[in-house]
């Protein structure tokens, strides 16, 4: 069933038959926005993520405790303790405060590597995809070498070489994420490049840079961003994992992975409290994942009617 266009009057055969200017159709990104706004799941997870962002960035406003100050008197209080509604950790620090402040590090350590790999890997992938031929082979085979290692092992190895610390963890994860980012952007660019409108743009005698900027990028950015969003959900788990292993953020800095590690010993005393950092990691990761799914379906051009 092919649906044809709405107005059968408005054709060249009868110019001026209907001289009313057509309402401008919404631009592509605007229509994506409209579709996102109609998707309850994406809307909900976006709200949750905004909530998480607010409590982490605005941590001093939502809690009055010092994230570093503990007391032997208040060690390992259960959830619901007056004054410490999410309990306390093994050195008596307020857990709600630690979770709020910890989110800063966790989110930073998750989003930064993805952003770096998005810029570097995305550019490299688009370049490889558009150039094709030998350049493509060279870039893609190099990426394959990195692919040979499981991502977490590669991250651990790089961290091991560079030493621990937040910036090294970010760097390690960025290196891990570049190859998949290159591959995804290379694939979508290769597909876009073969489309007739890219050929038509090349045939109009404009420069390679102009063709990429006006025709290729606009059509590959969507899928690349979707992939980047889904990478964040992986990145949160990996960066927390590095911290858990002592390769990322160093104590006493609050960070969800690190907190999970230090509360590990208390799992028999206060299992619910010990599970809270893990819950945060899981929640954030899942939200990013669902959000990327929502983007993906909203960006699907084949408008389902």
């Amino acid at each position: 069933m092919s649906h044809t266009t709405m107005d059968e009057f408005a054709t060249g055969a009868r110019p001026g038959a209907d001289d009313v200017p057509a309402a401008a159709a919404p631009g592509y990104w605007k229509s994506v926005g409209q579709r996102l706004a109609r998707d309850p799941v994406t809307l909900a997870v976006t709200l949750v993520l905004i909530g998480i962002l607010v409590i982490t960035i605005g941590a001093p406003l939502v809690t009055s405790y010092d994230p570093f100050a503990g007391s032997v008197m208040t060690r390992l209080k259960p959830i619901g303790t007056p004054g410490h509604w999410l309990g306390t950790d093994e050195t008596g620090r307020d857990l709600w405060t630690r979770l709020c402040y910890g989110g800063r590090m966790s989110l930073l350590a998750a989003i930064m590597p993805v952003s770096i790999s998005l810029c570097l890997g995305g550019a490299l992938g688009v370049f490889a995809g558009y150039a094709g031929g030998l350049v493509n082979t060279l870039i893609m085979r190099t990426m394959d070498v990195f692919y040979a290692f499981p991502s977490i092992l590669l991250a651990i190895a790089i961290c091991g070489i560079l030493g621990n610390g937040l910036s090294n963890a970010i760097l390690a994860l960025a290196v891990v994420f570049i190859p998949p980012m290159v591959r995804v952007s290379e694939t979508v660019t290769t597909q876009a490049r073969q489309l007739d409108f890219v050929e038509a743009a090349r045939a109009s005698g404009t420069t390679t840079f102009q063709v990429i900027r006006y025709h290729v990028l606009a059509n590959v950015l969507g899928p690349i961003l979707v992939y980047a969003t889904s990478l964040i959900s992986v990145s949160i788990i990996l960066s927390a994992g590095l911290s858990f292993l002592g390769l990322g953020v160093t104590p006493p800095q609050p960070e969800w992975g690190l907190m999970l590690n230090s509360l590990r010993q208390a799992i028999y005393v206060q299992p619910y409290v010990a599970a809270l950092p893990g819950l945060m990691i899981f929640l954030t990761s899942m939200c990013f994942n669902l959000m990327s799914d929502g983007f993906r379906s909203a960006m699907d051009v084949r408008l389902s009617k």
């Binding site: 110019p15 592509y28 005698g205 059509n219 408008l303």
Partner: protein, 353 residues
């Protein structure tokens, strides 16, 4: 844009100099396979194709799938690099130091593709798509959009209605009109129409063919009209070139080719055309089997495997394009045929109107 041909400042050699002179164009595609990605076979997509396009004429290229007609178009636009061969645009060798660059050629030679949907950027409005090339070539934003709107009107789409539409909001015929406007945006002198009407419904196809005729007159265009549809090529072209498996088998003025086809393949092709007359239906198959695969085509004459006249000589060497063995030769638009055998050239074909 409305000057006559003689006054066009870009016309360099006068009307006698061909708009396009193509010589020895060749493109082989390697098929790679195996462990080491070695070339296991080659598709001889275009093999030693030479032709002229005169100023102001329409040259039709006709042939079945795999005959190399679309590859020829892409080679001319330099969307792919030819293995060998030269293209001379109005006296200037393209890509040659003493000639013009590929980009300079592209400003004077444009192309319309078959798929009206995929040849428009889905993220751009119609006006943006048309204005893109002029803007990139330095025309101001306002001027470029004015030109886009005027072109939309020229191709029969009300700019007030369509300038701000996106491709998915238009029908196939309307999109193809936009593609034609886009091709005209750089004020080209030669337009390659690669199966430009093939995907359209008949009623819409006729509208677009009429439009192409009008635009040709209005803008002094020269067309290279590529199609598999014999009737449409006959309607549109002044001269016709018939291709088979990457080679030209016959070329000449449209009336000559359609009334006295000399090559056995051309005759079979025309005889395969449905008659449009329920009382004179086709009763015999002009050819059996499919066109052979352009991977490793037959030696010598490529048609010999399906030709009823084939002799030993046909397998030995490839026939060159030459004047028909009994025909008279016209210097301006000669009738040329690539066939060894006088008997095959003389045989009568199945004939319909």
């Amino acid at each position: 844009m409305s000057e006559t041909l003689e006054l066009d400042p870009r016309d360099r050699g006068g009307p006698a100099q061909p708009m396009l002179r193509v010589e020895g164009l060749k493109k082989y595609f390697p098929i790679r396979g195996g462990l080491l990605n070695r070339t296991v076979a080659t598709v001889q997509a275009v093999d030693d194709v030479s032709f002229l396009v005169h100023k102001g004429e329409t040259l039709g290229i006709v042939g079945e799938s795999g005959c190399g007609k679309s590859t020829t178009a892409r080679l001319l636009m330099r969307l792919m690099e030819p293995d060998s061969g030269s293209v001379v645009f109005d006296g200037d060798a393209v890509g040659d130091l003493r000639g013009i660059t590929v980009n300079e050629m592209r400003r004077q030679m444009q192309m319309v593709f078959q798929d009206s949907y995929s040849s428009l950027n889905p993220r751009m409005t119609m006006a943006e798509s048309i204005a893109y090339a002029p803007r990139m070539h330095g025309l101001g934003r306002k001027e470029a959009y004015d030109r886009a709107e005027s072109l939309l009107a020229q191709v029969g789409l009300n700019p007030r209605q369509y300038a701000r539409r996106y491709p998915h909001e238009l029908s196939g015929g309307q999109r193809q009109r936009v593609n034609i406007a886009r091709a005209l945006a750089l004020e080209p002198r030669l337009v390659i129409l690669d199966e430009a009407v093939a995907a359209l419904d008949k009623s819409v196809e006729a509208q677009v063919l009429n439009l192409l005729g009008d635009l040709k007159e209005k803008f002094n265009l020269t067309y290279l009209f590529i199609s598999h549809d014999l009737n449409v090529v006959e309607y549109m072209s002044d001269r016709v070139m018939v291709m088979y498996l990457g080679r030209v088998v016959e070329t000449g003025p449209v009336a000559e080719i359609y009334r006295h086809p000399r090559h056995p393949y051309t005759r079979a092709l025309f005889a395969s055309k449905p008659t449009l007359d329920p009382d004179r239906r086709t009763t015999e198959m002009p050819l059996t089997g499919d066109p052979p695969n352009p991977i490793n085509p037959p030696s010598g004459c490529r048609f010999r495997t399906r030709c009823a006249f084939a002799e030993a000589v046909c397998a030995e060497k490839a026939p060159a394009l030459a004047a028909p063995l009994d025909g008279d030769y016209d210097e301006m638009s000669p009738h040329l045929v690539a066939c060894h055998l006088p008997a095959a050239q003389r045989a009568m074909g199945v004939h319909h109107v």
